[in-house]
């Protein structure tokens, strides 16, 4: 009976996993094959290296979109990753409990806001602020999008980073303090390195959110696709923003295919970014600590040994 249950459970999990893998594969295949049709209308060179995307001239050079997405994501991460790590450190290590609770609520609230609200706040607060502070005509562009995305990525990043830090055992903290570390030394030299895999996950997930965000970005980025922006404060676009702006009115087959190809590219780039970040920072030590941090932190292999020895624990 128990065995049958185990088999049943196993097959359920297995099919769930299979469905996930298969549907992912099917999705990639579908988007890829639909998108690749663009090359029956324009050459790959003019798609990948074209510096203008303009349906009036039927030029579909992806560089303005690509550049916009990468620049927006980069600027976002440069601000939001350190911010999120600082906030989570504050929440876990410094803030007294009531303040921590208030902050947690705030973070959850941030997470539940629909992106159109972020877009609206960006449009009515961030854009005018940038316009006045930087003396530009409008204020829409990559910087405005990045500022909005900093706020949008905080909930994901903070809650995962907070979890990562909180799950570190108290014994690590005591160990550091006991050799004379100050609180800051304990945080920067022990906790942050020990939580690195989790913090990295936080950053990657934030990056995923930033690169894929559509609605809020579209409202503040300016949606200028016909050129690569020369600075961070003039109209630009990102891949998802361009897709959502143009797909509804894309009647020419070349335009539709080009947009779907952009979606495919977005998928591929996201995968590459994830793999790249993992490779770059996920060397031997990260792997070792990921796998072992938990049991070792709880004392290596204590429970069984302690029992053998008959000691009180």
């Amino acid at each position: 009976m128990a065995r049958r249950n185990a088999i049943l459970a196993q097959s359920i999990f297995f099919s769930a996993a299979a469905i996930l893998v298969l549907s992912t594969g099917a999705l990639v295949l579908f988007i890829g094959s639909t998108g690749l049709r663009v090359f029956s209308f324009i050459s790959p060179a003019s798609f990948f290296f074209g510096r203008s995307w303009d349906q009036n001239t039927q030029d579909f050079g992806v560089l303005p979109l690509l550049f916009g997405s990468l620049a927006t994501t980069l600027v976002t991460l440069v601000i939001s990753a350190p911010l999120a790590i600082a906030v989570s450190i504050f929440m876990v290590e410094i803030a007294p409990r009531p303040i921590r609770r208030i902050m947690r609520t705030a973070v959850e609230l941030f997470a539940s806001l629909p992106s159109v609200i972020y877009g609206l706040l960006g449009l009515t607060l961030v854009v005018p602020w940038l316009r006045d502070a930087l003396h530009v005509g409008l204020g829409k562009g990559i910087l405005a999008a990045a500022v909005v995305l900093v706020f949008m990525t905080q909930p994901t990043m903070v809650s995962i980073a907070e979890d990562a830090l909180r799950s570190l055992p108290e014994s690590l903290r005591e160990g550091a303090l006991a050799v004379g570390a100050t609180r800051w030394q304990m945080i920067w030299r022990v906790l942050v390195p020990a939580a690195r895999p989790g913090l990295l996950t936080a950053v990657i997930l934030g990056m995923g959110r930033a690169i894929g965000e559509t609605m809020a970005v579209q409202m503040v980025v300016g949606n200028i696709t016909s050129r690569i922006p020369s600075n961070l404060v003039s109209g630009a676009t990102t891949m998802p923003a361009a897709i959502v702006t143009q797909l509804p009115e894309a009647t020419s087959p070349a335009h539709r295919a080009a947009l779907i190809m952009v979606a495919f590219l977005l998928l591929v780039i996201t995968l590459i970014l994830i793999a790249g970040v993992r490779l770059a920072t996920g060397g031997k030590s990260t792997k070792a600590s990921t796998r072992r941090a938990v049991p070792a932190a709880q004392g290596g292999r204590p429970a069984a040994v302690a029992k053998l020895q008959g000691d009180k624990v």
């Binding site: 009036n56 200028i224 509804p248 009647t251 996201t270």
Partner: protein
Amino acid sequence: MFKSLRVGFTGLVIMATLAACGSTGTTTTSTNPTSSTSGSSATMPAATMVATAMPAATDATMSATMMAPTTAATMSATMMATATDATMSATAMGSTAMTGGAMSGKLTVAGSSALLPMMQEAAKEFQAKNSGAQITVTAGGSGAGRTQVCSGQIDIGDSDVKLSSDERSKLNCADAVETPVAIQAFAPVANKKGPGSVNNLTKDQLVKIFNGTSKNWKEVGGDDQAIVLVNRAKGSGTRSNMAKFLFAGDDKQFATGASEEDNSETVRQTVSQTPGAISYLGFAYLTNPDIIALQVDGVKADKADIQSGAWKIGGPGYAITKGKGSELAQAFIQFVTSSDFQNSDAFGKLGFVPVQK
């Protein structure tokens, strides 16, 4: 924990991508300009909202309205005048008369986001009278409306513009029937800072502003304030109507401008908060107090001037069927174009002008 997060992330990416390529309806509607400003009963949050049959009480009220005396005559007059296909309207009228408000079946309508609130209102009222009918109205863009009706995915496509001859042949849609359902008018709008005392521009001045030749308001008699040009995205009906007026339809003459917005509400927001900004908006937005609606060649955009044709920017929006369309589709279009609906408060509030010869 780490593993599962990774799986979760993959899911996230998939969803993001799906959303990116499939959510056009949702996106367009959630920021739907008219529904958020008009405060009308047609405010529908969800894009794929299915207007289902109305409860009995409403049904009764609606039937009462329908029995108002003047209806029949006015209605047929309007129909005859506006419908592209005389035969079709005759058939439609016949069938409606026969079934006496008891049409049933399903109908899908999609396309222009500008026409969406009007079509939703019409669907709501039509279903109130025909409890068996289920009409699904979604947005998706005029282009999508034209494409999908031609490929048979939907029954009626709404579009701000007619099918081009190119589209008729490429989309295999030679037999499409385009019925004007409402007149949409557009006007140039500006931020309060910039025009100064100027509230009227000539067409020539507008052309120069929108093609990027004029860069400062003082060139057209306004203050010394740089012009910030805000466009709608290429392919939008609003923009094509503006291009038709300014550039004889040649969209390429538009200067790139500072931004290209996806919808009218964002345009309104952007113009209202950016000194020197200029753009164009639909009739429904012109009463908005935080922007200035500019006169063109001395004519103000009001209902009378639009109907008389003195106001030159704009034109009818169309309901397109492949062939004559189903009986239900014909009946629905007939209802939309009926003077009863066209002259109703709801219709006017949404910022449309009745279709009239």
